[in-house]
């Protein structure tokens, strides 16, 4: 126990580009004890994946390990030859990559992919390999008749479990997990994590778990290292970090996590003093239906994305549309903003008599009333135009401002969404800004036409955790000041709880439950909603039973 199984000392990694090299990782040191779950947390660009890939020496060019050493099982990785390293990978340490979709080869069956690993590293073939493959699948609770399935026939959760099974194939003492659950839905994520914890109990391996989601690691890790800009800013036991940590960055991370359980924290987001809504809805959606039809003439397939959804939104209200991937929530956003025509049903704007879905051409008036903020701040701005262009075009198009008023108005808008000084930001190109700043520009663009309704499709899911609440605050503030109506679409129940007044839970294109936010969180009626609420609450893992509680010895170390 005293001898660490992994020790990383002063590791530095450079990316050799142009005249100056970019320091991606700077003097990172940590030790992992045998049998421990060690978490590495950081936002995008913090260098957490680079550290791990440098440890395995699988970083592609133009990376260069400029300093430091790494000992795994007392073997000096930096001095090892290529043959040593290849021999070492998978037998001593295996890695579960971020996206199971990419980690599995789409043209090979599960059986062939497991056999590959067994043959190369253990020389097992034929029936022996088959038996081992069956054992591995039963470890991760997948029936062995799935052996002949191809990756596309499996769900995301199943694929991820198979990748874990392959990582376990040779029973390495250390497993590295690089964001293994990021692409998965919350409920599936919880299943995978509890499976991993259960397996570790049974097989006793060491886990190095990398994620951007501090909340998740607090559930099951023993010790944590928090990374920022290529350096470890804090390294401590989980119980100390849970209390708030020492470094201001840790404090910020801990403080910015909304929770779906317990009493609602006050003051996290601005709320108007009293909530009263007019009697008539500003937007009404009735029996909305969208069916996608594949155009293959031999095999006509129908996919019902949205199935009879009806809801009303009142002026000044924030509605949370919560659902997992495939629930049809983004399709609803596209239907409401009329990027797509519904297959059936209707959308009424401002009173009953204006049915908006009849004509193919969308009137400018509708565009002006309903605006949208997209999920991906990197994709929703055009990289060849300045911020000024993005904000000025809608105003030109709708003839709202003339040349002389334009620039001051845009500066004002930018400062309103927290981009000061506005005149500097107006001249910037998207690639000169961070993700959070871009998303603010996207929000400013949506606000530039002074719309009545904003559809926000997962506006924070691609942003770093520490700035998510700041971005949500813009919506909360705009609602309070301008009586803006927001349709907030998210997969994250906790953030919907804090921003929205009312939550609609979607599953498979239909509404499961609809209620005022606090009521829905505190007393969910439907089974699915209950699952969602439990999965988003802290302590979900230990609530599964004593098997999942942390080993005391580490807690008291």
């Amino acid at each position: 126990m005293n001898n660490p199984i992994i020790s990383v000392n002063n590791l530095s990694v450079e990316y050799v580009t142009g005249i100056k090299s970019v320091q991606a990782v700077h003097n990172v040191s940590f030790e992992i004890n045998s049998g421990e779950i060690f978490g590495l947390v950081g936002e995008s660009g913090s260098g957490k994946s680079t550290v791990v890939q440098a440890m395995m020496r699988i970083l592609p060019p133009p990376a260069l390990i400029s300093k430091g050493n790494v000992f795994i099982n007392n073997e000096d990785i930096m001095a090892a030859s290529e043959a040593d390293i290849i021999n070492f990978r998978w037998k001593k340490i295996s890695i579960v990559m971020q996206s199971a979709l990419n980690a599995l080869n789409p043209v090979l069956s599960v059986r062939e992919q497991i056999h590959d690993v067994l043959k190369i590293h253990k020389g097992l073939i034929g029936i022996e390999a088959d038996n081992r493959a069956k054992e591995l699948l039963s470890l991760v609770d997948i029936e062995y008749n799935r052996l002949d399935s191809f990756p596309h026939q499996l769900s995301g959760g199943m694929k991820q479990r198979i990748v874990i099974a392959i990582a376990l194939a040779i029973m390495p003492p250390i497993i590295i997990m690089d964001e293994p659950t990021t692409a998965l839905d919350v409920i599936v994520e919880r299943e995978i994590i509890s499976k991993v914890i259960e397996l570790r109990k049974k097989l006793d391996f060491t886990i190095l778990f990398i994620t951007h989601d501090l909340n998740l690691l607090l559930e099951f890790a023993d010790r944590l290292a928090i990374m920022k800009d290529g350096e470890v800013v804090e390294l401590d036991e989980v119980k100390n970090i849970q209390k708030g940590g020492k470094h201001p960055y840790t404090k910020k991370l801990i403080g910015s996590i909304p929770s779906a359980s317990g009493v609602r924290q006050k003051g996290l987001l601005t709320k108007p003093d009293k909530l009263t809504f007019p009697k008539d809805p500003i937007l009404e959606v009735k029996d909305l239906e969208k069916v996608f039809q594949s155009s293959n003439i031999f095999n006509k397939q129908k996919l019902v994305a949205v199935n009879g959804v009806s809801f009303k939104i009142f002026k000044g209200e924030i509605i949370g549309l919560v659902g997992e991937s495939g629930s049809g929530k983004s399709t609803i956003a596209k239907l409401v903003t009329r990027l797509m025509r519904p297959s059936a049903g209707s959308i009424y704007l401002n009173g009953k008599n204006k049915k908006v879905t009849e004509s193919r051409n969308v009137p400018l008036e509708y565009r002006k009333t309903v605006q949208m903020v997209f999920q991906d701040p990197f994709g929703s701005l055009n990289s060849i135009h300045t911020v000024y262009h993005h904000l000025a075009r809608p105003l030109f198009r709708h003839k709202l401002k003339d040349q002389t008023e334009m620039f001051p108005y845009i500066v004002h808008l930018l400062e309103k969404v927290g981009l000061t000084p506005g005149d500097k930001f107006a001249k910037k190109f998207p690639h000169e800004m961070s993700g959070g700043e871009r998303q603010r520009v996207a929000i400013a663009r949506a606000l530039s036409l002074d719309p009545q309704i904003i559809v926000a499709d997962e506006p924070t899911s691609m942003l770093d955790v520490s700035i998510r609440m700041d971005v949500l605050e813009i919506f909360a503030k705009m609602r309070k000041e301008n009586n803006l109506t927001v349709l907030f679409i998210t997969h994250d129940l906790a953030s919907a709880r804090y921003l929205a007044d009312r939550i609609i839970v979607l599953k498979n294109g239909a509404i499961v439950e609809e209620n005022a936010s606090e009521k829905l969180i505190q007393s969910p009626k439907k089974e699915y909603t209950k699952q969602l609420v439990t999965a988003a609450s802290p302590g979900w893992l230990s609530s599964l039973g004593e098997n999942f509680e942390k080993k005391e010895e580490y807690n008291d170390q």
Partner: protein, 313 residues
């Protein structure tokens, strides 16, 4: 409007121009092309007429005629330079037209999709499956042999492939969020295609132009060599045609075809250099990998594992 001018700084075009100038490959390629273009435009005013009978036929290079004379006693130097004029003009015009037509048809098909795409794709596919070379030969011999005919034939047989590529690129852009955002802000479709999407395709359009120009120059020279162009004009293709007609190989008068052939090769080489350069400018990873290879000591570069420069001090 001072503000607005400031905003244009650092726009995509200036970034591209500076990228090309800084890139060695693109820069040297551009210099060669520029040299050829300037020579073709201005030098003919100062030298012998390429069609005059000047000296003893098939006399080798000398001080008087530095590239010698051909079978008709014409100055090969003058022919090479004057030939560049029409060859380069037709080649680059065909390149531009091919890209414009391809961008128009492919862009519209990819952006609108549905029935419009079905019809335009059918058109593109018909032109793709038509055998280009025989069609080119038949059209060129059937139509009156003028530079315009050649241009038309080259564009007609060359546009479809580019249209196909641009169509697929447009289809991927069509569903990007920035296009949806432009639609929601009320922009017209034409403006979205021209102002929002086309500049994003600049590297594709530029390399399509380069590719089409190389093809057009090659095909044009080939047609003229076969005698399908206007043999009374002076182009690189007709130079080669006459060289072969006058049995240059049998008489061992190499100077009648080497200058022209070399010019064609150098121009194609320069265009290819520009194409590589555009690749690197639009995909910086290619450059950084080269820098990495130069900087990291050779013995450390190992195919399978990340190099380590120094052990702990």
């Amino acid at each position: 409007m001072n503000n607005k001018n400031n905003l244009q700084q650092n726009s995509i075009f200036t970034r591209w121009v500076s990228g090309i100038i800084e890139n060695q490959k693109a820069f040297s390629g551009s210099c060669i092309i520029l040299f050829f273009a300037l020579v073709a435009i201005f030098v003919p005013f100062f030298i012998n007429s390429p069609t005059d009978f000047l000296g003893t036929p098939l006399s080798p290079p000398s001080f008087e005629y530095i590239f010698g004379t051909n079978g008709q006693g014409q100055d090969v130097f003058a022919q090479t330079i004057c030939g560049a004029r029409q060859t380069l003009f037709v080649g680059f015009s065909a390149g531009i037209l091919v890209v414009i037509i391809g961008a128009l048809i492919g862009g519209i098909a990819g952006f609108y999709g549905g029935r419009i795409d079905d019809i335009l794709s059918l058109l593109i596919n018909v032109f793709l499956v038509m055998p280009g070379l025989p069609l080119m030969v038949i059209l060129a011999s059937w139509l009156p042999p003028t530079p315009g005919t050649l241009l038309g034939v080259l564009v007609l047989t060359g546009w479809a492939w580019n249209a196909r590529i641009i169509r697929s690129q447009m289809m991927t852009f069509r569903n990007r969020d920035f296009v949806s955002a432009a639609i929601i802000s009320g922009e017209s479709n034409i403006r979205i295609i021209v102002v929002e999407i086309m500049p994003r395709m600049l590297s594709l359009l530029a390399s399509a132009f380069i590719g089409a120009s190389i093809y057009a120059i090659g095909a044009q020279v080939g047609l003229e060599f076969l005698g399908l162009g206007d043999i009374s004009t002076v182009t690189w293709g007709t130079n080669l045609y006459w060289a072969s007609n006058d049995l240059a190989l049998l008489t061992e008068s190499w100077w009648t075809f080497v200058p022209t052939g070399l010019s064609i090769a150098i121009v194609s080489f320069a265009l290819t250099l520009i194409n590589f350069g555009i690749d690197e400018v639009s995909n910086p990873r290619l450059i950084s990998e080269r820098i990495w290879r130069n900087k990291v000591p050779k013995e450390l570069i190992n195919h399978g594992i990340t190099p380590v420069t120094s052990q702990n001090e």
